[in-house]
Assembly symmetry: C2
Homo-oligomer: 100 residues x 2
């Protein structure tokens, strides 16, 4: 799997129910890095991303919850400057894509 | 101001203090669209973005708060597919950049 196969995705959620929020957070923790309380960075191939998106769709209540996906491009093209944090930042792993 | 001058930024915050969080949210509401409770999309020129970034830096407590900035590229190059929401979504204005 080369850097050209892997894309970086930013995923943010707004979920009021504690049980659903915890389930979604645990799923995302298994795929990527938590950069804020409700924001994750996931480096993976598009096919695996679609599987994750489907799993999250099944977990949420589409009437009240929201999950935002932002495709930041290939890992190779991804410029470190495109993500920038002020204040108390968490580490984003840069050692390759998540093993799924 | 052409579409080539304008960039789309995703801005997300993690702020525990109610007063600071409200101040940051009000500032961001004056610049762009709220897409989730703590996630905004701002379309603006890089110079204006830097001014906003400085204002937010002055508002937060860098020891406890966090603001994440993600540069999504020029508005011209920006592909609608790069942002995708499942569930309950808010509208992102597409009629040009914020007037600052």
């Amino acid at each position: 799997m080369s850097l050209d196969d892997v894309r970086r995705y930013l995923i943010a959620y707004d979920i009021s129910d504690d049980v659903r929020r915890t389930k979604v957070a645990k799923k995302l923790e298994s795929y990527g890095d938590r950069v804020q309380y409700s924001v994750f960075i996931v480096d993976t191939r598009p096919a695996k991303f679609l599987r994750l998106r489907t799993q999250l769709t099944d977990m949420i209540d589409e009437g009240t919850d929201s999950v935002l996906f932002c495709n930041l491009g290939t890992l190779r093209a991804n410029n470190r400057r495109s993500l920038d944090v002020i204040g108390c930042s968490r580490t984003i792993t840069d050692h390759g894509p998540a093993i799924l």
